[in-house]
């Protein structure tokens, strides 16, 4: 057979290569660039090697931010996943209420993130906010702008309010895909409602829940907008999670080198943890 070698076909992918280079590779390389150099402006750079990486990894500030980040992420996962599944189970599967419930559930997801932050900020203000005033009126000494515990409480409540819907919608999609025959078969077997959940609904929701956990993990690990509007990382540094800290270093102190190094570490942590999550859940699947 006479095979024609003609590499001109590669030209067809050039537009994509250019686009990806422009919006991903070049910015990323800029960050890499900054992370290994020292600059005092005027486009003058000095080679710094791994100094910034060492500095970031050894700094207590980074450890604290990472610790807070992990606490935050695992707390909201521990609340949002079970709560989302519970709400999905309680939702009707047929009838006129289905679209109503779905729209109600989707509402928080449709609100711009900074608006969510602003809403909760005002809602929680101890002097004029509905939540803040009510809590104080009930005798709780609540002030999220002064007390770290209250700030955390508000932050987690806001995230649960904002994002549980996503878990609900995914879990609900998994639930409605279960044929009626499964429920009938379980009924005929005399299975209890818990057994139906444990042996039919949960296994059938496994795939969508894997996706829900991954999405919520990645998103919550990168939370910035709502948090920066709600508390801005305060009071003090008590709610300064990784992204807030990064912005403080990069734009507040203009330490571009350490900020770039931290960005890369941040990125690698998310990549690594996502991979670990995914592998664990997929291995479970195969067993």
């Amino acid at each position: 057979m006479n095979k024609t070698h003609d590499n001109r076909a590669w030209f067809f992918v050039l537009p994509v290569v250019a686009l990806v280079a422009f919006n991903a590779v070049i910015p990323l390389m800029t960050v890499v660039n900054y992370s290994v150099q020292e600059t005092f402006g005027d486009n003058v750079f000095f080679w710094a090697g791994v100094t910034w990486f060492e500095q970031v990894l050894q700094s207590e500030r980074f450890h604290n931010a990472l610790g807070r980040q992990l606490i935050f992420t695992f707390t909201i996962l521990a609340i949002e996943i079970p709560l989302g599944v519970a709400i999905a189970l309680a939702m009707p599967r047929k009838g006129p209420w289905v679209p109503v419930c779905l729209v109600l559930m989707a509402l928080p997801l449709l609100i711009p993130w900074n608006v969510v932050g602003a809403m909760w900020n005002i809602f929680a203000l101890p002097d004029i906010g509905l939540l803040g005033r009510s809590l104080n009126a009930l005798g709780f000494d609540y002030n999220f702008t002064r007390q770290p515990g209250d700030a955390w409480f508000t932050l987690i409540l806001m995230d649960v309010w904002h994002w549980t819907s996503l878990v609900v919608l995914l879990a609900y999609a998994g639930l409605v895909s279960i044929p009626d025959a499964y429920y009938q078969a379980a009924k005929i077997d005399g299975a209890s409602p818990f057994a139906i959940f444990r042996y039919i609904q949960l296994p059938k929701m496994k795939r969508v829940l894997t996706i829900a956990v991954l999405l919520r993990f990645m998103d919550s690990f990168m939370i910035y907008t709502e948090l920066s509007v709600l508390t801005g990382g305060g009071p003090g540094n008590s709610t300064t999670l990784l992204s807030i800290d990064l912005v403080k270093i990069a734009l507040g102190q203009f330490d571009l080198g350490p900020a770039a190094a931290m960005s890369l570490i941040y990125f690698l942590i998310i990549l690594l943890l996502s991979w670990v999550f995914y592998t664990l859940m997929m291995r479970n699947e195969q067993q």
Partner: protein, 353 residues
């Protein structure tokens, strides 16, 4: 124990899903519900099982009125068209599940699961999960689950429909053997007349939510009560022709005529519908009263030793199912012969005479 439906009906909103039906299934009997998709087979089964509550009428089981009794409190098992098993349990755990719910002793569970796994040839797969099994094995697991608990009523809702040809034949042969020495009532829903004939027992023909006929399978097949029943219980579909009886002859619409078969000699003059089963129509004259039927060939299906020829006859589609290979060309005009001595005669309301 016997299962008795007394004037059972089901309406959902303004729609009638099941028209009032009377049906008695004898203890240890094999009953086939035969009908096309949406004829109401599954709904009727749900009513029998107690998964649906009838709008009116009563369900009696073993002489006891169980109309409002939940399926949990009846000893029923069911196999579905989809392969329904617990996805994250092994085959062993799946088969054992109804026994565990019934709090049976562990060694007794082990013994029974072993017996039924052996019977359904699942013994080598006991440690696997349903997703690692073939369709046939998944369905056999579901059947083992239904059989293991020794139910009084076993409902099989088109259990073979989603299997490929070979497996279907295999399981079809196994089925009667599985129930041979049990005294439970088996109800088997199918769209295929040939399955009803293979299983024997009793057959109920369903059409649009009505049980049009119920009786011993052979009898329902040979002497359908009406045209609908004959149409439900015929594959390929039964051929029909409009005729007028005048004196000793049946006149076809186009002027053709032939003598009225002896057993219908007593009919009054008037309009009738004839029903001729496809295997009574053949390319060569056969039987005691072959009558020529001429038409244009639409499709010829040749399968090994048999030909199925679809042709138009008086603006209706007729089918001939004949032995041998008859490669009639599509579009040609052909003469075939219907053995009218075997024809079923229906009056204008569709009742068989």
């Amino acid at each position: 124990m016997s299962l008795e439906l007394r004037r059972v009906s089901l309406r959902v909103g303004a729609e009638t899903h099941i028209h009032p039906v009377d049906l008695v299934c004898e203890p240890g009997s094999f009953n086939v519900l035969l009908g096309t998709t949406l004829a109401g087979k599954t709904t009727l089964m749900k009513l029998m099982a107690g998964l649906e509550r009838p709008t009116s009428g009563e369900v009696h089981f073993g002489g006891r009125d169980v109309t409002g009794v939940s399926v949990r409190n009846r000893n029923v098992s069911m196999v579905y068209q989809q392969f329904i098993n617990y996805p994250n349990m092994t085959v062993y755990e799946n088969i054992a599940s109804p026994l565990k719910v019934a709090r049976m002793a562990d060694d007794e569970i082990k013994r029974r699961v072993g017996t039924f796994a052996e019977l359904l040839r699942l013994t080598p797969m006991l440690d696997r999960r349903p997703s690692e099994l073939s369709g046939g094995q998944q369905q056999r697991t579901a059947m083992a689950r239904a059989l293991v608990k020794d139910a009084d009523l076993v409902l099989l809702d088109e259990p073979l429909a989603n299997l490929d040809f070979k497996l279907r034949e295999e399981l079809r042969d196994e089925l009667p053997r599985l129930f041979a020495d049990r005294d439970c009532i088996v109800v088997y829903a199918t769209t295929e007349p040939v399955e009803a004939l293979l299983f024997g027992g009793h057959t109920a023909c369903l059409y649009e939510g009505r049980v049009v006929q119920f009786g011993p399978t052979g009898e329902v097949y040979r002497s359908p009560a009406d045209l609908t029943s004959a149409q439900v219980f015929s594959d390929p579909p039964i051929n029909t022709a409009q005729v007028t009886k005048a004196g000793g002859d049946f006149h076809l619409v186009d002027g053709g005529r032939f003598p009225v078969p002896a057993r219908h000699a007593g009919l009054a003059d008037g309009a009738y519908t004839l029903g001729v089963r496809p295997h009574h129509v053949s390319p060569a004259p056969k039987g005691t009263q072959p009558v020529a039927v001429e038409g244009t060939v639409l499709v010829t299906e040749l399968s090994g030793s048999e030909s199925i020829i679809h042709f138009t006859f008086h603006e209706r589609t007729w089918v001939s199912q004949a032995h041998g290979i008859h490669p009639f060309e599509v579009g040609t005009r052909q003469r075939l012969y219907a053995d009218m001595s075997k024809a079923l005669v229906f009056d204008e309301t569709g009742r068989r005479l």
